[in-house]
Amino acid sequence: MRTVLKVKDITKIYSKGQKPSLDRVSFEVDEGEFIGIMGASGSGKTTLLNVLSTIDKATNGEVYINDVNLKSLNDTHSADFRRDNLGFIFQEYFLLDSLTIQENIAVPLTLQKLPPKKIESKIKSLAKRFGIDSQLGKYPNELSGGQRQRASAARAIVKNPSILFADEPTGALDSNSATELLHALSEANSELNTTILMVTHDPYAASFANRILIFKDGHIIQELHKTNKNRKIFYEQIVEEVSKLDTNR
């Protein structure tokens, strides 16, 4: 299987003399994988996501996405790179309040300069998958949190990104909405073969992933694989590992 993301020895130090937020981290992600990144606050999860998604730059080490070295990108190129390769979902949804849901989902496609007809048909089919097809004409503040997050997921997936980065996507959702969203993501992962990298500290959300990297103090200290386990057993394994982490604190 093709490797989409290659992380080699990345270190991130925000200010001199401080402990690094990421300390020589290395891992690889193949196409179609659903990766969960876990760890306590301050363990380096968000720093990792920022570095991988070209929003921030690593102090040392290299990141390759689709064999492109992120270091080689200047501001304009990294914007183009995000436009063409990356999708984002955030805890706070980050929808544009002044645009309808349909317009929000259309934004990344207009950047790719797709023709209007294609934009609309893509939005329609994806909106159905995420169960928001009846909400397309509404504004974000007319929707529930769950619907907003699904809209934001649709916006991220609509352009078929090489990797979808999700930063605590269920953080602000009630359990029903969270389950709906995770099912939709997991479906997209299996049916559309979307590669997903999700940061979460919720073991339930993490159990939807195939592989989990657990971070502590800027290092990966544990890697869990779902392999053939069903989700419930994987969930229990995750809870056990996380609680071990807490008792060893």
Partner: protein, 667 residues
């Protein structure tokens, strides 16, 4: 921590945020103080106002100024309060009583107003000195600038008193806001979702239609004597048109604009572009809460532009007409008791080079005539009032010869007119018109001149506005061929002799004019070209100066409201730009979006204001100004200049705003 200390800390922390408020308030106070200093400057007022006219105007304008300053200060104060509601909510949550929060704001306001007053009074004092110096140079008033106090105590007391009143009103306005808003709303104020916009087709169409009707009514004034402006009345029509345009503008901005923008979304190929998909919905979203501000800005812009344009045209036009009212540098009627030698002596007394000065005498013969239709000039000014028995002017044509006319034009330096002048046959005449109208219709008319029983038939070869003798000395002038002129002279018609003085060395010489005026016993038939221009500038300068204060203030208000408004909307949508950046928008894309959004908000008030201004100026010029010049585009040059200056000022504001917004929204 006491309230006063907190207020100071707050100002320090938010300095960049407040600095603009401080600067704009300081600016407003500068204008106010300069104006107040001017209005209490007795040395100056004595020179430029003989009849107390300027003092009355000062009072009227100072009322306007005060209302305006008050409006501006409450507007910007309310604006900054809104931006800080979250902070207010935090104070309230921490247990501050509303009275304590109010006193915090009052302290802040006092500090800002005090700082701004200090800056404003210092700048205003110098601005006042500068203005006095400029006027005294321009009008040759010979004011000793050192006589005028830099800081006039009276003006300081007046300004300070006014600032206190403003602070008092701000406190009342703030307390109303605080006590009316619940804690919940304070905490959530900024996040309050805006209501969904409803698109009313009817009011949208009505808005557009009313503006159109308003402009058509304005255009109606051009139809001449049948125009509604004459049949119904100028002021009635003026009020009606203004009412329709104002209501139309309100509906146009609040309904029509969002309506067509919403419609424009249907053009998908245009809408689904990376810029439009953000800017179009954003505009609709913003206009919901900003329609009122935009309407106010549009009306303010229309006001500023119209006042500037009308000011420019009302100064320029009378000066331009002087070329017709007093075509020669100096001209007077030679009456019985005047001797030419004395005149020549006066001229040489003032040391002028006689080679340069041309002194021409023209005998104008009055001739009675008959015709199917005599031109209006024939009997213009002739009183038929039998009761008064005092005849101002006998009806008749006033004839001068072609070669005299030519010599006069040469002396006046009107080379262009001379080039187009074709010689006359003995039965041809040129008719000098008083006002421009459809001039071609009188060409070819026949008049029968009655020369003591002898009848001479002449045909109008051309009509002209290039009179070489002033209207005070000749109306209904006919330029006749030299032969005909000799015939007329030989029949001993009544005549008057006009002396015309021209030449570069006597231009702009007020002393010579006064000397001649004394010699001629203030004759009403004495006219001076430069003298008249000086008089016009002198008479109108104070009016323009005072209105200038208002215009400057308008500009400050419009510019800073636009600035505040755009800055705050960019601040509110800062997170939007972060999202867009994550979605792959480059800095260049984002800058384009910001620019477009600001440009829309700048251009609506400017363009609508500009259209209003063009129509208003047209109505003003057609309805209220005497029409003596040929209608040519060059008359509108001052209007164009006024508009260009306004555009430049708007442009500067635009660039400053764009830069500030880039700074806020982009890293």
């Amino acid at each position: 921590m006491n309230t006063f200390f907190m207020a100071i800390r707050n100002l320090q922390k938010n300095f960049s945020f407040y600095s603009l408020y401080l600067i704009s308030v300081a600016f407003v106070i500068t204008v106010f103080f300069a104006f107040t200093s001017f209005s209490v400057n007795t040395v100056m007022l004595e020179k430029i106002s003989a009849d107390g006219r300027v003092e009355t105007m000062c009072t009227v304008i100072s009322v306007f100024l005060m209302i305006f300053v008050l409006f501006y200060m409450t507007y910007s104060n309310r604006f900054f309060l809104r931006r800080r509601t979250k902070e207010l909510g935090i104070y309230a949550l921490m247990g501050y009583r509303k009275a304590a929060i109010l006193s915090l704001f009052t302290f802040e306001n006092i500090l800002v107003c005090f700082g701004a007053s200090l800056v404003g009074i210092i700048c205003g004092a110098f601005a006042h000195k500068g203005i006095v110096f400029l006027i005294s140079e321009l009008l040759n008033l010979g004011i000793d600038n050192s006589q005028i106090q830099l800081f006039n105590l009276n003006a300081i007391i007046k300004s300070a008193g006014f600032v206190f009143v403003v602070i008092f009103i701000l406190v009342i306005s703030n307390s109303r806001f605080l006590y009316k808003t619940s804690l919940m709303n304070l905490v959530r104020y900024e996040k309050k979702a805006e209501k969904k916009m409803k698109f009313h087709k009817i009011s949208a169409i009505l808005g557009f239609a009313m503006m159109l009707v308003g402009y058509l009514l304005a255009l109606n004034i051009l139809t001449g004597s049948q125009s509604l402006w004459i049949t119904i009345g100028f002021y009635q029509m003026g009020l009606l048109t203004m009412f329709i345009v104002v209501v139309g503008t309100v509906l146009f901005i609040a309904s029509f604009l969002p309506f067509i923008i919403q419609m424009s979304k249907r053009k998908k190929a245009k809408f689904y572009t990376s810029t439009k998909i953000v800017t179009t919905p954003n505009f609709i979203y913003r206009i919901r809460s900003n329609a009122k501000t935009l309407i106010m800005l549009t009306l303010l812009s229309a006001g500023v532009l119209t006042i500037s344009a009308v000011m420019a045209i009302s100064l320029y036009y009378p000066i331009a007409t002087v070329a017709r009212i007093a075509p020669s540098e100096i001209e007077f009627r030679l009456e019985n008791n005047i001797r030419m030698e004395d005149i020549e002596n006066i001229i040489s007394d003032y040391g002028f080079n006689n080679n340069d000065v041309s002194l021409l005498t023209t005998d104008i013969y009055k001739v009675k005539a008959s015709a199917d239709s005599l031109p209006i000039e024939y009997s213009l000014g002739a009183s038929n009032d039998k009761k008064s028995n005092k005849v101002i002017r006998e009806a008749g044509f006033e004839c001068i010869s072609f070669s005299q006319y030519k010599t006069l034009l040469e002396a006046q330096g009107k080379t262009k007119v001379l080039q187009e002048l074709a010689p006359l046959n003995d039965d041809e005449v040129i008719l000098m018109k008083y006002q421009p109208s459809d001039n071609t219709k009188e060409i070819g008319n026949q008049y029968t001149l009655n020369l003591n029983g002898l009848e001479k038939c002449v045909i109008v070869k051309e009509v002209s506005l290039n009179n070489a003798i002033s209207f005070a000395n000749s109306i209904g002038t006919l330029i006749v061929s030299d032969n005909l002129y000799l015939d007329i002279a030989s029949t001993e018609q009544p005549f008057s002799t006009i002396v015309s003085l021209n030449g570069n060395s006597i231009k702009n010489n007020e002393d010579l004019y006064i000397a001649l005026s004394n010699y001629l016993n203030d004759s009403p038939y004495l006219l001076g070209n430069s003298h008249r221009i000086k008089e016009i500038i002198f008479l109108s300068s104070s009016t323009f100066l005072l209105i200038g204060f208002l215009v400057v203030l308008f500009f400050i208000a419009v510019g800073s409201i636009l600035y505040f408004n755009n800055i705050s909307s960019v601040m509110e949508s800062k997170s939007d730009y972060e999202i867009l950046e994550k979605l792959g928008y480059t800095q260049k894309n984002l800058r384009k979006i910001i620019r477009k959004q600001i440009l829309t908000f700048f251009s609506i008030p400017f363009l609508l204001g500009l259209i209003d201004c063009i129509f208003a100026t047209m109505v003003y010029k057609t309805g209220l100004m005497q029409d003596l010049l040929e209608n040519s585009l060059s008359q509108y040059i001052p209007v164009v200049i006024a508009i260009v200056i306004t555009s430049i000022i708007y442009g500067i504001y635009y660039f400053v705003t764009v830069r500030a917004c880039y700074k806020i929204a982009l890293k």
